[in-house]
Symmetry: C2
Subunit: 146 residues, 2 copies
DNA sequence: AAAAAGATGCAACTTGGTTGCAAAGTTCTT
DNA sequence: AAGAACTTTGCAACCAAGTTGCATCTTTTT
């Protein structure tokens, strides 16, 4: 299985690969972690906020990316890797309350639950909040110095 | 175990029971489901938005309520029922993408997962999105008529 | 090349959340 | 009971994220 170019990946999802779209995709791929519109904006000063918004909206509609909610106040987006065929679930996310960074716990699959009769499930979000390893470490050092 | 009055419940959490705070609490208790600041505002026209905000902020600090994120764009708050002693987890929530209502699946506990070394977990959110029973039903009727 | 369709940038706007400040209400002290 | 000190509240103003209308520019189609 050879790696597809960004252009091919977009075409595969019926998204016309314009310059902006390729840039947004590449930025998301490069940074690897879930990003908000503003995060993308900060990394792509050449593109207007509204254009990024429209690109992301299109990406969501065409399943190029999906949205996740950490509690940061802004929605985060992440490239879909369906090669992992996450039927419904996908993986667990972790939000660091200290550095406000969102991590994908790629290895940790969301355990599915039985929901009551009548509810129809479309997607699942599993979000753990706490302190990430590097902030834990900083904390210890801080405490030792104090 | 007798039921505590709202005043007693607040005092128990070290919150001075002012008129506004009692009203906010009662509104949340009455409606039962997770509510946003705006939802509360709509139900309590007598109280200013900023006051509701401050009441909720205080409630969160004193563990009277806790926040949950459905993907609706606004944070929702829910009265803590720790009699159920949800160690970390608590129950699963369901967000209806059609009526934009958030449900507590009280009976459905969040299954906990093993997270990687170094991460320190403080809280967990499990959010299912889809269509709720009453919107499912409306949909069927709609389709039959069409 | 002209017409049609699509993508982009700018500016303006909406909404949810948040803060400063003065007025109103409480509590404490004398 | 009167006044000082503190707390709570409402108003207005502000901020950030998200969103939309519109004119312009680009691409595609004919």
């Amino acid at each position: 299985m050879k790696a597809l170019s960004v252009t091919e990946k977009l075409q595969q999802k019926d998204v016309k690969p314009t310059a902006n779209r390729i840039l947004v995709y590449e930025t998301m791929a490069k940074l690897g972690c879930p990003l908000s519109i503003s995060d993308i904006e900060d990394n792509l000063l050449s593109i207007d906020k509204s254009s990024i918004f429209r690109v992301i909206t299109l990406f969501v509609q065409h399943d190029v990316v999906h949205a996740i909610e950490d509690g940061s106040g802004s929605l985060k987006y992440e490239i879909c890797h369906e090669d992992l065929l996450h039927a419904l679930g996908g993986h667990v996310h972790f939000y660091c309350e200290k550095c406000h960074h969102t991590f994908c716990l790629e290895g940790v699959d969301i355990p599915l639950v039985q929901i009551p009769e009548g509810f129809e499930s479309k997607s699942v979000n599993y979000m753990i909040k706490g302190i990430c390893p590097s902030c834990c470490k900083k904390n210890e050092i801080g405490n030792n110095l104090a």
